[in-house]
């Protein structure tokens, strides 16, 4: 947490379809990545980003699950879904409206969907 005590952290979670993504022409992929780079620059310059990143494809995921005291390791994501978590920004702003204002401009909105979730706040 920064010195701004009344700030609140939100995760901007970007979901898109890896399948649709892989079907896009090269030039289109470049254009979208360029938009993401510009957006990342802008949101970073605003001084509100605490962490951000792009995830490798779900094919690289490994899932662990406890099963009667044993840990079962499986290949793949925890659930097969049409859209997958592809990246995130962890931001710190005053309230949901500010978080939504930033999320709305995320290029992820145009290619899939963007979920805004507050981080759990420990009660005082």
């Amino acid at each position: 947490m920064t010195g701004k005590t009344n700030a609140m952290q939100y995760m901007i979670l970007i979901y898109d379809s890896e399948q649709a993504w892989s079907a896009l022409p090269e030039a289109e992929i470049h254009r979208i990545l360029g938009e993401f780079m510009r957006y990342t620059q802008e949101i970073t310059d605003a001084g509100i980003v605490r962490a951000n990143g792009r995830l490798a494809p779900v094919g690289s995921a490994t899932t662990l699950r406890g099963n009667g005291g044993k840990v079962v390791t499986t290949d793949g994501p925890f659930a097969e879904t049409k859209e997958q978590l592809g990246g995130f920004y962890l931001i710190e702003v005053a309230n949901l409206d500010e978080a939504l204002r930033w999320a709305e401009r995320c290029p992820g909105v145009a290619i899939g969907s963007v979920e805004v979730r507050p981080m759990f706040e420990m009660p005082d």
């Binding site: 609140m8 005053a94 309230n95 949901l96 409206d97 939504l100 204002r101 805004v116 507050p118 706040e121």
Partner: protein, 414 residues
């Protein structure tokens, strides 16, 4: 003083009291509980002493004291110590001037905050409606549940979840920033209209009109128009609801079947409500900010002002539908435009438009499309075809009053 009178004052003052308490304490549940405490105290005190000079200020003061008491008790339970002697950061309610500040200044702003927060798009539409009815109209959970024909526990749960989300996601208790204001204001208006429509055109069930919900929506609409005095569409919406509501008693016959506009007994329309709506609309138009609510209200006012069905100014109505399509390009608006066109140019022209509309497939399974077609066929004297389409409409209609009306039409086909 009878309990009903206390209830009336309580409901009138609810939004104001709650809005200020939420701002002061930042805790919706605490604010609601404290106001509830104040209401209980009003019931016992006022019955003996009668109404105080300023019941709103009385309720606010008592509610604030109860809120502070509750906070002290909470703190006591948490720390296991005696009275901490004061609550940090909250003004002492007995400090001179502090109540007046709560009552007289910034109150309109507080109610606006409440309004925009309840109608925040991050809340589910049903939750927005329930929250607005609960906080702004002061309607009890039981009454909201009854109006929405759902178990009380369902409504209560909906409200609990919505309030939890406001707290956890920190939906700001603020009037939105200028760049978001237009979109957020139309969201507010749409919530009010959603409540009204739920009451007026109940989609399911036996009753066509649920008066209580219509009344509450109009109450809400009045509050919104009062809080947004420079917003033409807020007036347009209130006018529109009043005009629909003016026809309420004439809309159903003794057997519970829907009576179409042209067959309604116009003496049973509420003239006072029509006059109020027309005046509202007249005051909105010079603001030069036309929108779908004002246009729909203008259409409804032309119907309301026609002494007999055959006096209706269909030409003007058709022109207004043309304007409405530009603001609200939906197939349902187009269906109404086609019907108005038929009234101006004759049923065959209307039928041709309905063919084009049907070919686009957007109104598949919408009972008013075959119903409109059947009406035009009947007007054109093609009764056998009309009967077939009324039959299709009956099979698609979900409301008993509408089905009863359509059945009657089938029987009336020679």
């Amino acid at each position: 003083m009878p309990a009903l009178a206390v209830e009336r004052v309580y409901r009138r003052e609810h939004a104001r009291g709650l809005a200020t308490l939420v701002r002061r304490f930042g805790d919706w549940n605490l604010a609601e509980d404290a106001l509830q405490d104040a209401y209980a105290k009003a019931l016992s005190t006022w019955s003996g002493e009668g109404l105080p000079d300023r019941p709103g200020a009385w309720l606010a003061t008592v509610a604030q004291n109860h809120a502070l008491d509750r906070l002290r008790r909470r703190r006591h339970a948490a720390h296991g110590t005696g009275d901490p002697g004061g609550i940090d950061g909250i003004a002492d309610p007995f400090e001179p001037g502090s109540i007046d500040e709560g009552i007289d200044s910034g109150v309109a702003d507080d109610r606006l905050r409440l309004l925009y927060t309840c109608c925040h798009p991050a809340l589910a539409p049903a939750a927005q409606c329930a929250l607005a009815l609960r906080t702004l109209c002061g309607l009890h959970v039981r009454a909201i549940a009854r109006a929405y024909l759902e178990p009380e526990a369902t409504t209560a749960q909906r409200l609990v979840r919505a309030k939890r989300k406001i707290m956890e996601a920190r939906i700001p208790y603020e009037v939105p920033a200028a760049q978001e204001l237009p979109a957020r204001t139309s969201q507010v208006l749409s919530v009010v209209y959603l409540v009204f429509n739920e009451g007026y055109a109940a989609t399911d069930g036996e009753l066509l009109v649920r008066d209580d919900l219509c009344g509450e929506a109009i109450r809400l609409g009045r509050l919104v128009a009062e809080l947004l005095p420079r917003h033409a569409e807020a007036r347009g919406l209130l006018a529109l609801m009043l005009l629909h509501d003016a026809r309420r008693d004439a809309r159903m016959d003794a057997a519970g079947a829907l009576v179409p506009l042209e067959e309604q007994d116009r003496d049973r329309w509420h003239r006072a409500r029509i006059r109020e709506a027309v005046a509202l609309l007249d005051s909105a138009l010079p603001m030069r900010a036309p929108g779908p609510y004002q246009i729909q209200a203008a259409i409804a006012s032309l119907h309301a002002q026609a002494r007999r069905a055959q006096d209706t100014d269909w030409k003007q109505i058709f022109m207004l539908y043309g304007a409405l399509i530009r603001h609200l390009p939906t197939p349902v608006v187009e269906l109404n435009a086609a019907v108005a066109f038929a009234m101006v140019e004759g049923p065959l022209h209307g039928l041709a438009w309905l063919d084009r509309l049907e070919a686009r497939g957007e109104l598949a399974n919408y009972h008013l499309l075959p119903a409109a077609r059947a009406d035009l066929l009947r007007r054109a004297g093609r009764h056998a075809e009309a009967r077939v389409h009324y039959q299709v409409a009956v099979s698609l209609a979900r409301n008993a009053a509408e089905r009863a009306y359509l059945q009657r039409r089938i029987l009336a086909c020679p």
